[in-house]
């Protein structure tokens, strides 16, 4: 477990343009996020895809007290976590899919993996055409950031964040389920 002070100083270095600090932050954050996520996968039979925000928040609380960092540090850190959390969920889904593809199981879990991968694919397509909107989804859905925090992180107005979120959510839903009609 890293010291709160170390996270803060890494974030400060990151803000001043030190890319090595980001690698170091990922190195610190990833194992903890991964451990938390795996614990949830084991206990929550269904629904883990629906709760990445909770996972990131739990990780956050483990790293630092909520008010120990300045808002901008918190935003940067959560932004990083949201990206990692998305990766963890996708890796998990892929692994499961590989192991179990041969078995036509009648369990309910498999659909969640399929959805995680479908969502990832759709998000990649969105990111190619509308990188900002894809980032909004990542920060809000995988990172649990508020509208204001996302606006600050992306350096756009809160109104833009809201519009992007509404449109991206609708569009993603259409990609995942809209063709079934």
């Amino acid at each position: 477990m890293p010291e709160p002070g170390e996270i803060t100083s890494l974030l400060h270095r990151l803000r001043s343009g030190d890319r090595a600090a980001e690698d170091r932050l990922v190195e610190k954050a990833y194992p903890e996020l991964h451990r938390i996520a795996e614990a949830h996968f084991r206990h929550e039979r269904a629904g883990h895809l629906l709760q990445p925000t909770a996972l990131v928040n739990e990780a956050w609380q483990k790293f630092v007290a909520l008010d120990a960092l300045e808002l901008s540090d918190r935003v940067h850190f959560l932004s990083l976590c949201s990206r990692l959390m998305r990766q963890i969920l996708v890796d998990h889904a892929r692994r499961r899919a590989t192991h179990e593809r041969a078995v036509e199981s009648m369990r309910i879990d498999d659909r969640l993996e399929a959805d995680a991968l479908d969502l990832d694919r759709a998000l990649r397509r969105l990111a190619e055409a509308q990188p900002r909107a894809a980032r909004v989804v990542e920060l809000r859905y995988f990172g649990g950031l508020s509208t204001e925090e996302i606006a600050q992180c992306l350096d756009v107005s809160p109104a833009t964040v809201k519009r992007d979120w509404l449109a991206a959510r609708a569009w993603l839903y259409g990609q995942l389920y809209g063709d079934q009609a």
Binding site: G47, M106, I108, L166, G178
Partner: protein
């Protein structure tokens, strides 16, 4: 769509969501990308939203406006939450608090609309219109409204038992007309009259209508993650053509009252369609003498008045609204002598029942002899049966599938034959085949049997027959519970599925169960069995499904998480 138009479309989506009926608002634009985006938004339900936060609402127990303590959630929508609260400064009286989400509270147009609508309510002082107690802002800038809490049921709930008594309908319509007329005289158009927005308040001398939601509850219902297509459609069915195309006027309220009156008397609405886009075409076609054919006992004047109120051209509708409701009420009271027979007739249009109870002569006199000839027509076997063979997809079997439902094939082994289909939905989805008018008549008169192989994995897996008009829908659900499966003969779907329940012995094996339902037209009741064993008898159905006459499978979420069910075919047969 995710190209150069992104910023424009996202802006127009946000604009559309500001209106009470986003789909109707964009339907007239003719912009397919925009319509699709709005439709996806409406269908998306709580997709990607944080469900945990919604369940543990942080506002419960808190006080707003320094005096209203929030006690329980009455309803919620994309734009806000409606709470029951206690006014701690006035004898702990019960009040209703509507709180706008912070997501919307920072939007100027939404704040403006919220305040405008509060302003409308303060102008209106009428016993048939809900009054405004208080309005304000909480610390973080969210707006709230405080309204009186009334014990009662909504007109929608009253309609669950089928058509209402003509004299009762007459009194309610007269009083609703007075309230709407009062608002019109002050330049206020309600715009969203529907049975959900008419509260029947119980007083010493009986139930009295109270108009709620002069646009305000739309804040809770309008635009959001929770409003569903059906919810939206609930409003659209009552909207006049000019309103669906974007512009409401006083005559639009007359139209809505015409639809409501029709439903109160006939037990079903004059128009049903799968999407709001199809409604204007049906409205243009008109209702002809359909009402008279449904309720000949009420005489020609009632049918004529309703036909006028439903005129496509707003200028041809009766005006003012009070003149329409008063004349309608007068004619209903004149015809009220026959209403019990007529209600009986509309509720149980089962000819066999009529014959058995010796009511033939009375009913024959009321509706003419055509039905007797119809009764003698031999049935074509191909028309009696609707099949969804095991392993077929919805497409192969010719079933419609709602967009909320995803279909995935299950194979006996990789690359092997398809043995069943798994259906997934984050909300509620249906596979359906419409009944022709002929099939509908036969099914009601001669009875039917429905069987399906299915297994719920999460949430509900259901099958059912919707009779279409006043006889109710019959729906059997299997619900996945912790230790097995429960059978439910559904009597209610609002605020959670409920009905007659029966437990099945615990089974962990992934087997499909044979769910069967048989409808007896003499008693107008159904029996339900699982794997050959009858578990529920005397099931009288329910009246909430109004998707038009059809045979269907449905998958429903039980708790907001993904619902999943496996179906291995369905067979429906009208008895010869």
């Amino acid at each position: 769509m995710i190209g150069p138009r992104w910023d424009e479309l996202s802006e127009r989506l946000a604009e559309a969501l500001a209106s009470p009926d986003p789909l109707a608002r964009v339907a007239a634009s003719g912009d397919p990308d925009l319509i699709e985006l709005v439709a996806w938004h409406v269908s998306a339900g709580g997709f990607l939203e944080d469900r945990r936060e919604r369940r543990e609402n942080p506002w419960l127990g808190r006080k707003v406006g320094g005096r209203y303590r929030l006690k329980r959630v009455l309803g919620r929508g994309g734009a806000g939450v409606v709470f029951e609260a206690r006014d701690e400064q006035v004898a702990e009286r019960r009040v209703v608090v509507k709180l706008l989400h912070d997501f919307w509270s920072s939007e100027d147009w939404m704040r403006r609309r919220f305040r405008e609508e509060a302003g409308v309510l303060t102008q209106l002082d009428h016993p048939g219109i809900v009054s405004l107690i208080d309005a304000g802002e909480v610390e973080d800038g969210r707006l709230f409204l405080v309204l009186p809490f009334h014990e009662g049921r909504t007109l929608r709930e009253a309609l669950a038992d089928g058509p209402l008594d003509a004299a009762f309908t007459a009194r309610l319509l007269r009083e609703i007309g007075d309230a709407v007329g009062y608002a019109h005289a002050r330049g206020v158009v309600h715009r969203d009259l529907k049975p959900e927005n008419v509260l029947l308040v119980r007083r010493a001398d009986g139930e009295h209508p109270l108009l709620i939601d002069f646009g305000i509850a739309q804040v809770a219902d309008a635009a959001g993650p929770h409003s569903t297509t059906t919810h939206l459609m609930g409003s659209a069915f009552y909207m006049a053509p000019e309103h669906l195309l974007g512009k409401a006027e006083a005559a639009s309220d007359v139209y809505s009252l015409g639809v409501i009156a029709w439903e109160m008397l006939a037990g079903a609405r004059p128009f049903e369609s799968a999407t709001p886009f199809a409604l204007p075409a049906l409205q243009r076609e008109g209702v002809g003498d359909a009402f008279y054919r449904l309720r000949p006992d009420l005489g020609t004047a009632v049918g004529r008045l309703l036909t006028q109120a439903l005129a496509f051209n707003a200028a041809r509708r009766p005006a003012p609204v009070t003149a329409f409701t008063a004349e309608l009420a007068d004619n209903l009271q004149a015809g009220a002598l026959d209403s019990r027979l007529a209600r009986f007739w509309v509720q149980r249009r089962s000819r066999r029942f009529m014959l058995a109870s010796g009511a033939t002569a009375l009913v024959g006199a009321a509706v003419g002899g055509w039905w007797l000839r119809d009764w003698l027509t031999p049935l074509d076997a191909a028309e009696r049966v609707i099949d969804f063979p095991r392993g077929d997809s919805a497409e192969l079997a010719g079933f419609g599938i709602t967009r909320e439902l995803t279909e995935r094939a299950i194979r006996s082994f990789p690359g092997g034959a398809v043995t069943a289909m798994r259906y997934l939905t984050p909300d509620q989805g249906t596979l359906y085949k419409r009944l022709t008018p002929q099939q509908q008549e036969w099914a009601l008169r001669r009875g039917w049997k429905l069987s399906a192989l299915c297994r719920p994995e999460s949430g509900h897996a259901g099958v059912g027959v919707e009779n279409g008009t006043s006889p109710p829908a019959f729906v059997a659900h299997l619900e996945a519970i912790r230790d097995g499966v429960e059978l439910i003969a559904v009597t209610q779907v609002r605020d959670g599925v409920d009905g007659i329940r029966a437990s099945l012995s615990a089974t962990s094996a992934p087997t499909l169960m044979r769910l069967e339902m048989a409808y007896d037209p003499v008693s107008a009741r159904a029996t339900i069995s699982v794997d050959g064993q009858i578990l529920i008898r005397d099931y009288a159905g329910h009246t909430e499904y109004r998707g038009g006459p059809s045979v269907f499978f449905a998958v429903d979420t039980a708790d907001g998480s993904m619902a999943s069910a496996v179906f291995g075919g369905l067979h429906f047969e009208i008895l010869a």
